[in-house]
């Protein structure tokens, strides 16, 4: 059983047991356009919720990706080094950025679920 949560900055985190997988939303990848590079954190790196964790770049923009929760990186998606277009093709699947520990599950409670995020994005587009 896994649950996906979203931040207002368009990151998602899918928690499975005590590990969360982090990426950017389908909406975010559309806004960015063709992703050309993703700078990923080293495994072992610890973040507080809201810390800058990664950078995703298109041709004309670079956006910081913030740690959605507090925890430590356990794995980065090395496939993105060779093929950053995976973020465009499957932002909420194969285009994940990194996996991290979940230090405080309570942090997830303040985040949006899929439906709430859909409503949030719809409002942004108005």
């Amino acid at each position: 059983m896994s649950d996906t949560y979203y931040t207002r900055d368009h990151e998602w985190i899918r928690v499975d047991g005590d590990i969360g997988t982090v990426g950017i939303s389908e909406y975010a990848q559309e806004q960015l356009g063709d992703v050309v590079f993703v700078e990923l954190p080293e495994p072992g790196k610890a973040f507080d919720q809201g810390d800058e964790a990664a950078v995703v770049e298109s041709v004309k923009a670079a956006s910081e990706i913030y740690a959605p929760i507090t925890g430590a990186v356990v794995e980065a998606n090395g496939d993105l080094d060779d093929d950053p277009s995976k973020v465009n093709a499957d932002a909420e699947g194969d285009g994940w950025f990194f996996r991290m520990t979940v230090a405080d599950p309570a942090e997830l409670e303040d985040m949006m679920d899929g439906n709430a995020y859909k409503a949030y994005v719809a409002e942004l587009d108005d």
Binding site: F37, E39, E57, S58, V59, K60, A61, A62
Partner: protein
Amino acid sequence: MRYLPLTDRDRRDMLAAIGVAGIDDLFRDVPPAVRLDGPVDLPPHQGEMAVERAFAAWAGQNLSPGRAPSFLGAGAYRHHIPAIADHLIQRGEFLTAYTPYQPEVSQGTLQYLFEFQTQVALITGMEVANASMYDGATATSEAVLMAGRVTRRNRVVLSAGLHPHYREVARTNLGYLGMETVAPEPDDDGGEADLAALVDDATACVVVQNPDFFGRLHDLSALAAACQAAGALLVCAVTEVVSLGAVKAPGDMGADIVAAEGQSLGNGTGFGGPHVGLLAVRQKHLRQMPGRLVGETADADGRRGYVLTLSTREQHIRREKATSNICTNSGLCALAFNIHLTLLGERGFRHLAALNHATAAGLADRLAAVDGVTVLNDTFFNEFTVRLAKPAGAVVEALADRGILGGVPVSRLYPDRPDLADLMLVAATETVTEDDADRLCAALKEVLA
């Protein structure tokens, strides 16, 4: 006024079209108290003849190295620039184009910069080069900041053999980012102790110059190994790029970053600028590199073309998180470099370097025979250091009185080092003739007697 195409009638018609009574209405957002009523206190406009006359008079007050035997180096070198190079850089399509932000109408600029990047990578023995920096001194400083980002360390070792201006610029820039500089002073003959001893596990980089400021050549391999063992980068500065046609390339001796002054190819000494900075790195450090990069791609019809790329490193996108604040660089000087090196080609570049070296070697032997002159270098490319029997500053002035630009007194750059006051740097490029060498030797005999 010859540069202004609007007539008074145009101006009247345009004001009417805009719907205002006079030009002052367009400046109405300027607080009245600070609007000037009339021209500032400077001379009025002048025709070409008058302006040209003024500059001819200023030029006449200088001793042109083209009219005097000249042996000046120390980071700027007089070489012969083929006539076609200066002609081509004055093509309006090159001279008066902006930065190639619209690639469909900038393929000329983009292609020559791509060729330039390739040339710089090849001659320095590195993998990737950018599309230029301001000059050698600022390129070296950028290399050091880059090494700080790559290693996430903040201690920097600057060799005593690094050009004093390069040292000063690096020291000036580093302080603001909390970086610590270790910069040993040269010995009284311009030498220094082994730098490997200064490398520790907090060191971001060691910066050396080859040939060094005093003209000596160094095998960097051992120092490169020491840096690598400590996790530091080796930055090699080159002030005379023609040397790369004769001397082992820094990249082939293990340098991680090469920062160079490219003036010697295609660009005159120009009283110090504009020159062109070169920066070449290893592919793995590419994303920490400052400055513009041109990359190959394809157009909508599948034809090969070039664009500015990896721009997310740069200030116009990344703002305060950019790898550098540089925007305008040395585009046209890079073109001059590119054209000159293309003209030379592999064979000409090697020949030019060999000719420089042989000319300098011949001069060193002749100077060594002059009483009161000691050549200090065992090794050099086209510049070496001599110790004179009198203070070098006064000797150089006395030579200038005889119409000879004899060398750079080390005291010009190290005025606080009396033990270096007798040292003079002497450069001999392909422009030095036998007659020039005769005159220098004869004059030195007189001056030192």
